[in-house]
Amino acid sequence: MVVHVLMLTTYPIKVPRHGGQIRAFNIKRMYEQNGYKVTLVSVREQDSYVNEYDTYYDIPFANGSCYRRFCGIDVPYITDLQSGEFIVKDKCAWNKMVSICPAHVDVIHLEQPWLYEAAARLKHEKYSNRPVLIYSSQNIENELKKKILCFYSNPMKDQVIERILSLEKTCASEADLTIVVSSYDASVLREYGAKKIILALNGVEDRVVSHEVQLSVKSSLPKEPFALYIASGHPPNATGFFSIFNNSLAFLPPDRKIVVLGGVCDLIRHSSQQRRWKEINASRLSMWGGVTNKELDAIKSLAHVIVLPITSGGGSNLKSAEALRSNSYVLGTTTSFRGFESHSSLPGTYIKDDPIEFQCCLRDLLDASPFVDEELRKKSTEALVWKQCLKDVVIKVDEMVKKNVNMA
């Protein structure tokens, strides 16, 4: 029997860039490698992911849609939450959703809580076989949004947090299986009512670094040993950066730099927090923005230190797993190693929560000889490869599908 899975996300995964996309991409691939047939439907922000979506299975959530507003009021950084309301309330969108979902599915895999209402309606209205509902959490979203929205004096922020909390509680209690990325998240979702929980850390994909690409990026990279920060445009990534570095990079000697990759570059560039220090920071930052995966791998292979200045946000940081699998020194915070606690004592790995200690440690590491215990670290981090991280998920889902079929 071929198991049919319907995956629901708020982003396409055709070109996986940010952490959420990469996780969803690897879960889909894991299902497929196990012989499942997977249909992924995404409700995506219309203006994002240009040319990186599948026209048939991606439903655009327009910028001007009235559902972008929460109770009629603009609230920043909640398009994901609002996409859930949009898909069930907008008739056109809902009809499209119903029409593109396969006639039969055994599993509805809900990636993050946002599209729960759609998943529940599909389960009860479209599929008479009552498919297994999997809630795949990436974070404790209400806690994360609270930290993001605390910077805004928005009149609706308390209601927004309340709505997300309620949504997460419903997901946890209604799902047949809850997948979490850290033991902390497991404990919270258990409190929210999750019955069956399985821990699946964020993983890493081992890729071969192209020598050619390495040569081409090398000419644009700093000549001196450099630190590397890779992060998406998710606001806590900039918050952590500025709070750990105390807004200024003057603690680094004038010839040392931090290379920054990903959407966080824009957040750093436009932040008012560094206004006073913009010339200091400009002299010590090399901002690359978005790069291809090949370039990313090449730059990572040349980094002297990978920094993870993460101070907020739940879940587990996918970039931390990648850093632990690298051949560079890794310097992070307790928060950045959430979910990877057992690997935080690996050679060349440092945890510093105090900003001054973090800065001094980075300064020392940039002066140290390159990291050499690569082999030992590779062996010790075998469990961080996606296949290993998700292997228990496959077993559990298989078991639940069979049980469901038998009951039917």
Partner: protein, 452 residues
């Protein structure tokens, strides 16, 4: 081990030596005049190609002579009151249009035009001046490299002293490499951290520029000489805030012993001006120096019917953030005849003005040191200064200190001095008897003691 004195600022300076420039000129004078320091080497730095160039003894002497004799051959136009209508109009025109002038014109037209404007009208905007400086500097340094300069090889433990306008002329990143890789002991000065501490008192965008300058300076320095305890505290607090390792820091005292005036070198117009009773305020005219409180105090005295008020002489070039104040003074018929603004005053004229003033004022909002306070005292002249930052270190018990923002206090104190010539005389006698002006030779000895 060699000692190198960087003369980049002296080389480029074409005015009388002011505070910062004076530190470099006095160090140079000391080395040139003392046989035991004949082995000191001189150099300049070219920021455009990051090169050091040696300077011959004779050349250094020539540069010092040029600065010392500034104004000797100048005619009456060496000073002017800044109310000339044509001057104002052209300045306004330049301010409004300099961007377009720069953009549109080819280099061969632009440079001489800007030079002409700058020579004729020194009140051009800050940005114009900076651009002009960089153009003329790069032209002159390129010529020098081609003619007589040779590049320098520094050896470990060499001492490199740079005490001039380093934020303008130096690349601190390269000087950091000099320290780290060549083990050269770099000695720099910290005059003040005002652009960082009081960014609102500085030209826009300078705050971020100076924050970088000070942080790079700390990284590049083996030893930083601060010109007051207050500046040292400010500097170390800055380093702590940014988690920058401390270089060695020490405090030196700037000399304030201006020489007695040579009457032959004094412009007759200044002699005439100094015949009347006047209050003296020596300082660049910019927002931070708080000329406004003196203007307001004087208007209050006029409004309250005070008769026979003395003149107030501002000595200094017009800088940033005072355009409205200057217009107020010009248009305010109550006081506009009381204020005189002198620019391009040479050392002899300055000494003459100190010597003949009734008393001096220095209401600055923030200072790294406050040289005019010490200079006033060195001529036995009482000074009323503000109670901020380093100023109490300069004037100690010889100066009366007031809140720089409190116009009433300034009005009352000026009135008290005007009403009581005997009090002013007594204070003056007390200063003459007990105040010893720090000498520039002592400053130089202090520097050498700290760094060797």
């Amino acid at each position: 081990m060699s000692i190198w004195l960087d003369l980049t600022t002296v080389k480029k300076w074409n005015r009388p030596a002011v505070g910062i420039v004076r530190v470099e000129t006095e160090l140079l004078r000391f080395f040139l005049n003392n046989q035991e320091w004949k082995n000191v080497k001189y150099c300049t730095y070219d920021k455009s190609d990051f090169s050091f160039n040696t300077v011959e003894f004779s050349e250094a002497k020539e540069w010092l002579h040029r600065i010392d004799n500034y104004g000797k051959n100048q005619n009456c136009d060496s000073y002017k009151q800044s109310q000339k209508p044509l001057y104002s109009l052209i300045r306004q025109f330049v301010r409004r249009t300099n961007r377009y002038l720069f953009k549109g014109l080819p280099e061969e037209v632009k440079t001489p035009l800007l030079s002409y404007l700058a020579q004729q009208y020194d009140g051009c905007t800050y940005s114009l001046k900076r651009k002009l400086k960089s153009i003329t500097h790069s032209l002159s340094t390129k010529k020098d490299i081609a003619s007589k300069s040779e590049s320098i090889t520094f050896l470990p433990n060499d001492i490199y002293i740079s005490v001039g306008l380093d934020w303008e002329y130096k690349n601190m990143q390269q000087l950091y490499i000099l320290k780290r890789d060549f083990k050269v002991k770099n000695i720099f000065m910290c005059y003040d951290l005002i652009p960082y501490l009081r960014p609102h008192l500085c030209v826009t965008d300078v705050a971020a520029f100076f924050a970088k300058y000070f942080s790079d300076l700390a990284w590049a320095a083996h030893h930083v000489l601060c010109i007051s305890n207050n500046s040292k505290i400010d500097f170390l607090n800055f380093l702590d805030q940014l988690n920058i390792p401390h270089p060695i820091t020490s405090v030196i005292t700037l000399g304030s012993d201006l020489k007695k005036p040579d009457f032959d070198k004094i412009n007759p117009d200044i002699k005439n001006l100094a015949k009347d009773k006047y209050i003296l305020f020596v300082s660049t005219i910019e927002r931070r120096k708080n000329h406004e409180v003196i203007y307001r105090a004087m208007t209050r005295l006029v409004d309250k019917g005070y008769k026979n008020l003395p003149k107030v002489i501002f000595v200094g070039m017009q800088g940033w953030g005072v355009a409205e104040l200057m217009t107020d003074i010009k248009l305010d018929h109550r006081v506009h005849n009381l204020f005189t603004i002198l620019n391009h005053v040479n050392d002899d004229e300055l000494s003459y003005l100190y010597l003949n003033c009734y008393f001096s004022v220095y209401p600055s909002l923030y200072e790294g040191w406050g040289l005019p306070v010490g200079e006033s005292l060195s001529f036995g002249k009482p000074c009323i200064a503000s109670n901020t930052s380093s100023l109490p270190e300069v004037g100690t018990e010889f100066v009366e200190y007031l809140d720089p923002w409190n116009v009433s206090e300034w009005e009352e104190k000026i009135r008290e001095y005007l009403d009581n010539p005997e009090l002013v005389n007594r204070r003056s006698e007390h200063i003459k008897k007990y105040y010893t002006a720090p000498k520039w030779t002592e400053t130089v000895n202090d520097v050498l003691q700290q760094i060797l």
